[in-house]
């Protein structure tokens, strides 16, 4: 990696000041950033270590009024939280399946949300859009792990954070601090589709960091389900997260988000419509899963992800009401 200036401030104010310099990046668990630096994908002039900024870490509040998770909260702390396990199972499940115990002990919530895409062309230094001689390397090359939605554009990587989709299904907001002060946005608005190589997939302005995530009061039933290759440490191929508002046994409304299928956390509007007003049965879950695939336009090597969309949506829906038929 390239040599860089390093600092470890202990207050948010100092951290923001240090981050306002050119080419400065925030370091927390380091499970993504350090690898990018070693591979020369990211070569910052200044690294600002945030672990000593104590107010950034920790979980507060309760499920009745809503939880606040500091951006510096380690994933292992989320997994250890009884409140999250009981009241926000979509988040708990998605977090518990990230990486390995070693990674969850280091990685933080903020770092997970702001990690950069795992697209192998991006990681090989070809940029987010990976265009070469006017052609998309992803479209022409090996795209088995790439997007199946929004593929008409050139941003064909998939948003890497499974937590972002779970948090979006739960209706979470993120608080961002920066040189211009603090702002709070819906978590899905943290992500954007880059139109050119100079755009970022993250809607952060220069010098801004995520400071916390707010989960609304727990309402309804949530779950996430991920399809992956390995049991041990692996990425989800596709993950679905759902949060159902129930009226008796009828689903009055649902929020359904996918990871692993689009350059942003993918909102399954068709599936949300298909489930509204229905009683959740195996048959209905199957139909809603099918609906979730509408609009999928796979690339040359990733059509296999389409049935995974159907399966993960179906299973997340059923898991939310305690039906884990695939484990029978």
């Amino acid at each position: 990696m390239k040599a860089f200036e390093y600092s470890a401030p202990s207050t948010l104010e100092d951290a923001l000041k240090l981050l306002s310099g050119p080419d400065a990046v925030a370091l927390s668990g380091g499970t993504d950033l350090v690898n990018r630096m070693k591979d020369y994908v990211t070569s910052p002039a200044r690294v600002v270590y945030l672990k000593d900024v104590k107010p950034l870490a920790g979980i507060s509040g309760d499920a009745r009024s809503g939880l606040t998770l500091g951006a510096g909260t380690r994933l292992s702390d989320i997994v250890a939280s009884a409140a999250i396990r009981e009241s926000y199972p979509a988040l708990w499940q998605a977090t518990a399946e990230v990486g390995s115990p070693q990674i969850r002990n280091m990685a933080t919530l903020g770092g997970n949300l702001l990690q950069r895409p795992r697209c192998w062309y991006y990681r090989a230094g070809h940029g987010l859009l990976a265009m070469k001689d006017g052609k998309s390397l992803v479209r022409e090359g090996d795209n088995r792990f790439h997007a199946i939605f929004m593929t008409e554009g050139n941003a064909l990587f998939v948003a890497p954070s499974s937590l972002a989709s779970a948090l979006a299904a739960l209706g979470s907001r993120v608080t961002i601090a920066g040189p211009q002060g603090e702002r709070t946005i819906l978590i899905e608005d943290l992500y954007q589709v880059p139109r050119s190589e100079s755009d970022s997939e993250l809607a952060l302005r220069p010098g801004e960091i995520v400071t916390k995530v707010n989960l609304p009061a727990a309402a309804g039933k949530s779950a996430s389900y991920e399809a992956r290759h390995k049991e041990a440490q692996d990425w989800p191929i596709v993950l679905a997260a759902v949060n159902l508002t129930l009226n008796g046994e009828t689903v009055s409304s649902a929020r359904i988000y996918l990871a692993g299928v689009a350059p942003i956390p993918w909102k399954c509007t068709a599936a949300e419509k298909a489930i509204a007003g229905k009683q959740l049965t195996l048959q209905i879950a199957d139909e809603v899963g099918e609906a979730a695939t509408s609009g999928a336009a796979p690339l040359s090597m990733n059509a296999y992800k389409v049935p995974l969309v159907k399966t993960t949506v179906k299973r997340a829906l059923l898991a939310a009401i305690g039906n884990r038929y695939w484990e029978a």
């Binding site: 390397l137 090359g141 049935p307």
Partner: protein
């Protein structure tokens, strides 16, 4: 003829490896852990391109970085680079970071040449030829079982034609023979199966640390499977006496066939050390491990196989190809079974990828996957239990056939084949299907006859064995100690087993499952000679005949009565140690093993995920010296096979020509949670023990992936023809079957 003790105390029991604790606690220092005083760190510059010519190279900027002590350029202007990872240059500096900065500062202008990195690209019409003679090197068909008269008839027709038409016509004529044969068969399967290129992924990377101890005296700590090969290569490269090169490998973190030589980086490390006048450590990084340190070639088999109603195979027609990058990709085929009529033609396909190297049973896992898949599909077509089909096609004239039959019976019993296995299509209609499969393999595992071991008994009672072999994780050090302890009436922990030093008596390179069968006889011989020499000396002192002496439980016995403790007996040597060298002894080792493995799986048809439930491996390997290290070998082989079966795949990018998963994140390997229950059993009735020692490192990795593939086909009722059994390959096979109305 020598023979092993009939009623051994130690041999065949479960003895923990002598260095197990040191390895588990980190006390054991591997070659890459050795940091001699004043050592410099090396870094490598390798080709970022799949195919390019170096136009110019400028190291000035690199050399001028403070802390950079030496830069060595291997590839000159005009050199052609044939794969991403091809060695260009290296630098040595006071820190690893500076060394990396140095190689990045080397300025190179490349002329990019067209590349082919996949077999599809290499074989496409009009593909740029990356080697002289073309990317595809077809071999002539190997034909067995067609009568000579018929072959002569074909040759007569063929030779009458112009030369350029002969090969095509020959092929057509041979196919005609098979058409007739298959027309008479009751069932015929025609299918294409393939396994991808995988890499060795040694946890300790390739490399060495070199230190010059004088102008013509070199010491290196190398992660190698062959200390003496490395020593001889370095001696040759620097034109110094090989006795002046000491290669040390006390421990090593995995080689699997890829670490037999000094390699270009090893030679360059010594050059940098000479240039900088300081020791230099040069080991590959993870990415170069994948790119440049060897791989197991891919294999694709287009197979047509027929059988009669009773399950006897009638014939096999196969066209196979594979790529070993810039190296060949051969494998034995047909495999294991007695196939009465067969024709097999094979093509090596060359691509811009790192050259293949031997990898744990070279060629066999590929052969096994293709052969066993075809046989399994044939059994399904015949409506026959695939186990029965296999029994019917073992070679009645092969000495190993009764052994196979015994092993199959054991494995079937252990996995519950008769009770639990159902034919394809009968494993449920829900999303989760259950399946069972089996596969068989063969291997040599014999030793060489020219290796030596010295055994020294010192007056203080120390027993030291020495040989220039090395322990690549198989337990070689422990095995040698067990043998000496057995003969000297001591405990294995009483023996100092000194190996991993090239200056010791000639020892076996650790490859081909040959280490134990090569090293056991000379160890036995050396210990026996040393014991006899001790007896001869003691006989004089005690005024008895040497024949009256024996050893047991740490004592020397006279006429069966304990007389002296071992240490007291050795003290009687005075000041002179006993030093004996042992060599090959007929009758202690043998060759030729087989095995069968059975797999039980659960396949989720909605996610394509294969969950292994159980694997059973029954292996024969003659006399087993240490049950514990033997089982470790089989477990390790099976786990390697699980990776091959479920996870591993080198992914090359056709556009940029680079490997897309040259890491341990996108190159998938099983974690603990992916490992099922593995049942390992030795097949060792008395007649097996009587065969003597046979190596076991390679065979148990051969048939695992094949058995898993067959279990998946059994579960789904659909063949997944391409390994690994990944969600993608499983879902694609299911989707294709659905489209064709097969599922």
């Amino acid at each position: 003829m020598a023979s092993w003790p009939r009623n051994p105390r130690l041999i065949g029991t479960r003895i923990p490896r002598l260095d197990g604790m040191a390895k588990a606690t980190g006390k054991a220092k591997y070659p890459s852990d050795i940091l001699p005083a004043k050592m410099l760190f090396g870094a490598i510059l390798a080709s970022p391109h799949a195919h390019a010519k170096i136009q110019s190279i400028d190291v000035k900027a690199a050399e001028s970085i403070p802390g950079v002590k030496a830069v060595y350029v291997q590839a000159k202007a005009g050199s052609t680079l044939r794969f991403q990872g091809d060695f260009i240059a290296a630098a040595a500096a006071t820190s690893e970071e500076l060394a990396r900065d140095a190689v990045r500062a080397i300025k190179i202008e490349y002329e990019i040449l067209p590349h082919v990195v996949t077999e599809e690209q290499a074989m496409a019409p009009g593909a740029p030829a990356i080697v002289r003679g073309g990317n595809v090197r077809p071999g002539r068909a190997v034909i067995r079982g067609i009568p000579d008269s018929k072959l002569a008839e074909i040759e007569k027709i063929v030779t009458a034609l112009p030369r350029n038409q002969q090969e095509t016509r020959r092929k057509q004529e041979v196919e005609k023979v098979f058409d007739e044969l298959f027309a008479r068969s009751d069932a015929v399967v025609e299918a294409t199966y393939s396994v991808p290129v995988i890499t060795h992924v040694c946890l300790e990377p390739h490399g060495l640390t070199a230190r010059w101890d004088g102008p013509d005296k070199l010491t290196v700590w190398a992660s190698t499977q062959a200390v003496q090969v490395v020593a001889n290569e370095l001696a040759g490269e620097f034109e110094i006496p090989s006795a002046n090169v000491t290669v040390l490998t006390d421990y090593m973190g995995g080689g699997f066939g890829s670490k037999f030589g000094a390699d270009v980086w090893g030679v360059v490390a010594a050059r940098l050390a000479r240039q900088a006048n300081a020791p230099v450590r040069l080991f590959l990084d993870r990415s170069l491990e994948h790119l440049a340190a060897g791989n197991r070639p891919s294999a694709t088999g287009k197979v047509k196989i027929g059988a009669s109603k009773d399950g006897r195979v009638t014939g096999l027609l196969a066209e196979t190809h594979g790529t070993g990058g810039t190296g060949g990709a051969g494998f034995p085929f047909p495999y294991v079974y007695d196939i009465p009529v067969s024709s097999r033609s094979h093509s090596d396909v060359f691509v811009n990828g790192g050259a293949q190297r031997a990898m744990r049973a070279p060629g066999h896992p590929q052969a096994c996957a293709i052969m066993e898949a075809a046989l399994d599909d044939l059994a399904d077509k015949l409506g026959m239990d695939p186990l029965e089909l296999r029994l019917k096609n073992l070679d009645p004239n092969d000495f190993h056939t009764p052994i196979y039959k015994g092993e199959i019976a054991m494995a079937a019993e252990l996995i519950g084949w008769r009770e639990k296995r159902k034919p394809r299509g009968m494993n449920g209609t829900g999303p989760i299907r259950h399946g069972m499969g089996m596969a068989m393999h063969q291997w040599g595992g014999g030793g060489t006859q020219d290796k030596k071991v010295s055994c020294t008994i010192s007056p203080d009672g120390t027993v030291e064995l020495k040989s220039a072999t090395q322990d690549i994780g198989t337990g070689a050090r422990t095995i040698m100690a067990i043998i000496a302890a057995e003969i000297l009436g001591l405990k294995p922990t009483d023996i100092v087993s000194n190996i991993g030093n090239s200056t010791f008596p000639p020892g076996q390179p650790s490859g081909g499952s040959t280490t134990t069968p090569s090293m056991s006889p000379p160890t036995y011989d050396a210990a026996t000679r040393a014991r006899d020499a001790l007896f001869k000396h003691l006989a004089k002192v005690l005024n008895v005949k040497p024949e009256q002496l024996s050893v047991k439980d740490g004592s020397v016995l006279v006429e069966g009565q304990a007389s002296l403790f071992w240490k007291d007996a050795c003290r009687k040597l005075g000041t002179a140690s006993i030093a004996e060298t042992g060599g090959f002894q007929e009758g202690l080792a043998s060759v030729g093993v087989g095995d069968c493995q059975f797999a039980e799986v659960r396949v989720d048809t909605e996610t394509g995920k294969v969950k292994l439930l159980k694997l059973v491996a029954i292996q024969d390997s003659g006399l087993i010296l240490d049950k514990l290290t033997w089982e470790s070998q089989v477990y390790g082989g099976v786990i390697g096979g699980i990776n091959y079966g479920l996870f591993e795949e080198r992914i090359m990018d056709p556009i940029t020509g680079v490997m897309l998963n040259a890491d341990m994140e996108q190159y998938r390997l099983a974690g603990a949670a992916d490992i099922p229950e593995i049942i390992v059993r030795a097949y060792e009735p008395d007649e097996q023990k009587a065969r003597g020692v046979i190596g076991v490192g390679e065979p148990p990795t051969i048939s695992t992936a094949a058995a898993i593939g067959n279990a998946v086909a059994n579960a789904l009722g659909v063949r997944v023809p391409h390994w690994p059994m990944s969600p993608r390959n499983v879902l694609m096979a299911l989707s294709a079957a659905k489209k064709e109305g097969r599922a």
